[in-house]
Symmetry: C2
Subunit: 126 residues, 2 copies
Amino acid sequence: MPGGGQKRRGARRRRGYSGRSIRLLEPVLLLLLHAGASHGYALLDQLDEFGLGDLNPSVVYRALREMDEQGWVRSVWEGEETQGPPRRVYELTKCGNEMLALWVKDLEEAKDQIDGLIDTYRCRPG
Amino acid sequence: MPGGGQKRRGARRRRGYSGRSIRLLEPVLLLLLHAGASHGYALLDQLDEFGLGDLNPSVVYRALREMDEQGWVRSVWEGEETQGPPRRVYELTKCGNEMLALWVKDLEEAKDQIDGLIDTYRCRPG
DNA sequence: ACATACTATTGTCTTGTTGTCAATAGTCTT
DNA sequence: AAGACTATTGACAACAAGACAATAGTATGT
């Protein structure tokens, strides 16, 4: 083997998930809330604009609750003016805002990664 | 709710995984093999160039075996000239080539999606 | 007033992907 | 012959994601 020895031993990644995959749901939710507080059912519809249409509601609600637990968003039960059951309104926190910035940075890296791959492919396709 | 009614009912996605996440391992492996036949251990090192360094070997080997089962690659045991145990050499199939093309198309869409997100963010950051 | 439809959220179960770790095994160096 | 490096495979556990059902409030039509 030409140059560069192996050292892979002991890389130590976070458990369970995601060696290199790019989730979009969370950043998109943060982004939508970045534009103003909103509730799950409305967000559900807006996801469509970012190519995240037909996503199961429970997935979105769960993500919101988890983001709440993480402290990226804060939620309050909306008062009266609803036609239907009470809604939980989410609002971005300072921490969530910082998280969004980090995520955008991460997505830019991911984009570069994808670009690299595509470029390499374009050199000798088919 | 202004415009657009709900119709989410009955979207029917593939089971188990990945509503919208972007895996890079498989396309990168296909791309590397697209440049010429190779074996797992060598590919493992080349992954680094695409930002997929420190990935557990078994993950890569498993991906290769699965791609073999899918028919995207074909493998043969390499003859003599190895310093170490015999190596399984993978080669891209026609089907794998088509798969790669599809994947590149998919990645381009994903890139656009990311671009959209980043653009929206850039309009009103911080 | 009651049934139905729509709005809205939560909980649970199953499945499959992913990472870790251990086992196997061949060759080269000392 | 021991140890280091090359190379691949197998089994297991954790966990995340999707499907689906349950709950529940309001509005509308009859």
